[in-house]
Point group: C2
Chain length 234, copies 2
DNA sequence: TGCGTTTTTCTTGTCGACAAATAAAATACA
DNA sequence: TGTATTTTATTTGTCGACAAGAAAAACGCA
């Protein structure tokens, strides 16, 4: 018995604590396990992860830097709200980044990028078949992030990642009540986008990326105008 | 003698330390007082600001989040390098954001925004007259950031701010050896941009923003191809 | 002298504790 | 009973100290 449970607990690699807390909290926020407005208690997290408050705090600072949580000075810190009043600014940025990243991918991708992209494409299709909403959302984001990476512009990639993150929260809200129709159509559109990228057809990639983005936006907008009561929960 | 120097030192408001360190380090990095590659020593900073390492660390985490410093795990942390090999990705993003933010400002600005923009415009003109390179660079960035704010899309604004920051470092390098010609021309172009925004002429704003950006890019590119030795210093 | 190994040194990552700031609860007073 | 004020409680911000990790220095051996 080289390792009992009670006295030799601090077995964890040195710099790994922060990343673990950061990754987990991030996922919980984006999957709405921690809905907007949820209080974040440092002490509670410290107990949960069995570490001191210092690394917890560092993870929180990072999350705050990405706008996922908000901290009131000297007082509580909580999960950021989704700004439904300014959703159009979000959509504007999202559509533009869809276009730009797809376009750049068509121009700058290397053969090995396509394998990665196709991998996420298949993950997404599998999630659609399995009707697994959470996995649909996250693999969709991963798919488009991979395209952005292939475009090789880190400035665009980082903004796009942030937008996709916010999109995960919004889509999660959507899939809470509706989980039909748009998935299969999107699988096909993804395939078209891959084809355009592979053919290095920049204009086609731009056009398809734009159409794809606008379709998503239109659907979400339609839903949100239909049931306005959904934002009361936040 | 209500306050001697030796025994009542900890007179500083509670949450203010982090922001002070963050702001100062950020400026020193962007003005190249701390050139790329400079080592960042937590203990040294703690002594310099007369505080513990904890708030220093928090400021560093934030700076790392914005890409201004890089931290090797368990080993030193240093000011991020300027990636001269991929300057074109920077320019691509910069030009696009110039266009988008100027365009949105023409569409969404409110009267009070123009006052702010004009204020920075005059600051920049004054810096040009005074031949104060550092102030030229920072007021120019502030001018364009104000335009972005008037466009009212926080996603675009935050990316643009990051690009303008990186631009401050690159321009600082430029002005180290050349401080003539382009300033006055840019003052005029700024005035044209303001006029287009005020007239809510979206297409003109787009066009002027693009031309302005491309002019800057062309100048910087010309310089960097001329003296290639400049990057040896980094 | 050249090279592998051990020791030292220096920096970071983590911890537990304390103090300030604020909100909530309790109390006093009209 | 309602309001102002004091008290308590909770949570954050900061501190000093210690230990882990990695590079540099010192050392030993051929």
């Amino acid at each position: 018995m080289a390792d009992t449970d009670t006295n030799s607990t601090p077995e964890r690699k040195r710099g790994s604590g922060v990343k673990m807390v950061y990754d987990l909290l991030r996922d919980e926020i984006l999957d709405l396990v921690l809905p907007p407005g949820s209080p974040i208690d440092e002490v509670q997290l410290a107990e949960r992860f069995k570490m001191s408050r210092t690394p917890i705090r560092e993870a929180l600072v990072r999350l705050a830097g990405e706008g996922l949580i908000e901290t009131l000075p000297n007082r509580s810190t909580m999960v950021s709200n989704i700004d439904f009043l300014n959703l159009n600014t979000f959509f504007d940025a999202l559509v533009l980044m869809y276009r730009v990243t797809t376009r750049l991918a068509a121009r700058n991708h290397r053969p090995e990028d396509l394998a990665v992209i196709r991998g996420f494409h298949e993950d997404y299709a599998a999630a659609v078949n399995a009707r697994d909403a959470l996995r649909m959302i996250s693999t969709n984001a991963a798919f488009h992030a991979a395209i952005a990476e292939a475009g090789r512009n880190p400035y665009f990639t980082s903004l796009f990642r942030r937008l996709l993150d916010e999109g995960r929260r919004i889509l999660r809200l959507y899939y809470r009540s509706y989980d039909e129709q748009f998935p299969q159509r999107f699988v096909d559109e993804h395939a078209e986008i891959i084809a355009a990228i592979e053919a290095r057809d920049i204009e086609a990639a731009d056009r398809l990326g734009k159409a794809h983005a606008e379709q998503i936006v239109a659907q979400v907008q339609k839903l949100f105008s239909r049931d306005v009561g959904i934002d009361i929960a936040l």
